[in-house]
């Protein structure tokens, strides 16, 4: 009877339930909330202006551009981290240190044997980048081997590189601080002359497109999820769970190399102890904000990507509001706790149920 009595109400309740139980809901809601908050506090927040940089090239600037720009590395890492999380049910905490290694390799090859301050680059950037990819994937393979074949807890396995990575990075460059003076090296982290949008934005978009195509046209997504949900039954179905886990760490290694290129290109230099510091925590957070269970299994790539943008949005907002330095981590923590609790699968399920029952009660009442 109730169904017939008020079909619209029913659909609203059902719709909301569907919406709330959709993984994307929380990151989108968080993003909208941040947008709304900034819009009310300062309508100028979304203003984008076309200016000129010190070389006279046109550049777009504004908070939105800053957010899109600075979130790039995190987005790229979140892609890899999502796969690792889904397949192995754990996280790689060595990505920050691995970025230091990748960056160090790039600079080392560009410097060649010309010391830390070469007049010109000693090798094409693409060669340096490919070398960094190879090294990063090798380190990813190391992590993957420990996790997949030696069955070590991912966090413990990656703790090795987390601790040793920055020293390795320093050692690659003999503890020198290389500086590349060639302007073209800076294109990847800043602007290509004539293009007013920061390059990292394009790189991040390219990575997103690539992973979406891979997930659509290969079985990678299916394999990682099935291994993450139940590796034993995947094995019985002819999947090699160890290899799937292994390969996700290698893919994350590739993501690390791309992020490393952007990072070192931003300032054409490196500081081993602080480059990409704590970025692993933000990357894991992006995965969690995306509503993905950190214990592995099903994942939603868009959720993680949006999660990464939410984190950067939050950081920039806090900078904008000039929050006192010593209070900044506290503010961030409060927002993060709220978001993570809300996006936890358990809470989402409860919320969905509550909404449904509330809606049905309401409709039942009206039907009477």
């Amino acid at each position: 009877m109730t169904k017939l009595a008020s079909p619209e109400k029913k659909t609203f309740g059902a719709k909301f339930k569907e919406l709330a139980s959709n993984q994307i809901f929380i990151p989108v809601a968080a993003l909208l909330l941040l947008v709304l908050f900034n819009l009310i506090a300062d309508p100028g927040f979304f203003k984008i202006t076309l200016g000129q940089n010190s070389n006279g090239d046109p550049v777009l600037s504004g908070y939105l551009i800053t957010i899109l720009n600075n979130a790039s590395e995190l987005v790229i890492l979140a892609i890899g981290m999502t796969l690792v999380t889904a397949a192995s049910g754990g996280q790689d905490i060595s990505v920050g240190a691995n970025i230091a290694i990748a960056g160090s390799v790039i600079l080392r090859i560009l410097c060649g044997n010309q010391g830390a301050r070469p007049e010109t680059m000693q090798a094409p950037i693409i060669v340096a980048f490919l070398a960094a990819c190879a090294v990063s994937m090798l380190f990813g393979a190391f992590n993957g081997t420990l996790v997949a074949y030696f069955k070590i807890q991912p966090m413990v396995a990656t703790l090795i590189l987390f601790t040793a990575g920055r020293s390795i990075a320093a050692w690659i460059n003999n503890n020198q601080l290389p500086i590349i003076s060639d302007a073209s090296f800076g294109y990847f982290g800043n602007f290509i002359p004539g293009i007013p949008v920061p390059t990292p934005v394009f790189i991040a978009i390219a990575c997103v497109i690539v992973i979406m195509l891979v997930l659509k046209f290969t079985t990678l997504g299916l394999l990682t999820q099935s291994v993450g949900i139940n590796s034993h039954s995947s094995r019985l179905n002819g999947i090699d769970p160890a290899f799937v886990k292994f390969i996700t760490y290698v893919i994350l290694g590739l993501c690390v190399a791309v992020a490393g290129l952007i990072k070192v290109s931003r300032i054409s230099s490196i500081n081993y102890s602080v480059i990409a510091k704590d970025i692993e925590m933000d990357a894991i957070l992006a995965v969690a904000l995306g509503g993905n269970a950190l214990s592995g299994g099903k994942f939603n790539m868009w959720g993680s990507i949006l999660g990464a943008y939410v984190i950067q949005f939050l950081t920039t907002t806090l900078y904008k509001f000039n929050v006192a330095s010593d209070a900044l981590p506290a503010y961030k923590a409060v927002v993060v706790i709220l978001l993570v609790v809300m996006s936890a699968p358990v809470v989402r399920e409860k919320m969905g149920k509550a909404m449904k029952s509330a809606a049905s009660k309401k409709t039942a009442k009206e039907a009477k």
């Binding site: 600037s61 600075n70 190391f142 081997t145 074949y149 990072k263 500081n271 102890s273």
Partner: protein, 345 residues
């Protein structure tokens, strides 16, 4: 096949790690093998004899990979405490207090004449320093102070971060701007360098009406964070004419943001750029006129230490227990290539 491959990978990694550790390990275990010269245990006071006995020093330092400052510091010590200068030096490196204490105990057993110490942590040193005193070993602290009774060490050579900040702020005041709108980029909150360098600026802003803080944020010594902070100010459209960054890396990040927005900086620019630590590349920026000021945090303590050892060897006592090193501030308009070469780290 896969197994073999994975084993191989693991092996490469282990080797890579071992190779890394290799740099510092030999130095740490470098036992004072030269026992022959030490056999002539003559009173060291009659040093200017034909064959002077080497002065045995045990040097405990933080890992030279920690920062450019530490690398310069270590190189400076190695340059001074050589056989040619009459020293038999052993080095031990660690960022951990316990390991440093263990190294100190080893040096005491080896009967060094002097123990030079840059402590990783401030506490826990009383017992070992007491042992050193009982063994007749003089302790000289450098770079870092510790929470121990001053009678336990002969001298302490330190940087005064608050003075570094004052020197910088006084320089800024001498630029005679009508108004100072400062972007203050802080280091890791609570670190000695941050407290000292922030303190001087905070005081000036509180005193003078024409000094304003546009934003005061921590970039945690990180160039990219500094870039984002300055970017946020630029996006907000607020006016500013000074960037006071508490180290060179952060100043560099700030300048990257200025460049992207087409804001001129340095000598003849709209924005004054200030950094600290005197990295070589930073002083070169000064030389080019892209930055305005760089404050030194002096890593060259060895000359002070050898002066003290000379005094102690001659039977005297250092005039002051705590010696604050002279630290310069470089101005882009007066800096020379010679400064870059001798003070850049």
């Amino acid at each position: 096949m896969k197994k073999i491959l994975s084993m191989l990978l693991v092996l490469t990694m282990v080797l890579a790690l071992a190779a890394c550790g290799g740099n510092s390990a030999p130095a740490a275990t470098q036992a004072p093998a030269t026992e022959a010269p030490a056999a002539t245990e003559a009173p060291a006071a009659e040093a200017p004899a034909a064959e002077p006995a080497l002065i045995k020093v045990g040097i405990i330092n933080n890992d030279p990979n920690e920062s450019g400052y530490r690398t310069a510091n270590d190189a400076d010590l190695k340059k001074t405490f050589t056989k040619e200068n009459g020293y038999d030096a052993s080095f031990a490196y660690s960022l951990k207090n316990e390991e440093q204490i263990a190294a100190a105990q080893k040096f005491i057993q080896d009967e060094v004449d002097y123990l030079l110490l840059s402590a990783a942590g401030t506490s826990g040193w009383d017992t070992v320093l007491k042992d050193a005193q009982d063994a007749g070993i003089q302790v000289i602290l450098f770079d870092r102070t510790i929470d121990a009774d001053p009678s336990l060490y002969a001298a302490s050579i330190v940087s005064d971060m608050a003075k570094e900040g004052e020197t910088a702020v006084n320089w800024l005041a001498s630029q005679n701007k009508d108004v100072y709108n400062v972007i203050h980029i802080q280091g890791v909150m609570g670190s000695a360098a941050q407290i000292g360098r922030s303190g001087a600026l905070d005081k000036m802003v509180a005193e003078k009406d024409n000094w304003n803080i546009v934003t005061q944020q921590t970039a945690e010594w990180n160039a990219e964070n500094a870039q984002q902070i300055v970017q946020a100010v630029i996006d907000s459209g607020k006016e500013f004419n000074v960037i006071y960054a508490e180290n060179d890396d952060m100043a560099k990040g700030a300048v990257a943001a200025l460049d992207a927005a087409g804001i001129t900086h340095g000598v003849d620019g709209d924005v004054i750029v200030m950094g600290f630590d005197c990295n070589k590349w930073a002083l070169e920026e000064l030389l080019k006129g892209a930055w305005n000021y760089d404050g030194q945090c002096n890593p060259f303590q060895s000359s002070y230490i050898s002066d003290i050892i000379a005094t102690l060897e001659a039977g005297g006592t250092p005039a002051e227990k705590t010696i604050i090193m002279e630290e310069k501030g470089f101005d882009a308009s007066t800096i020379t290539q010679a400064d870059v070469d001798s003070y850049g780290i």
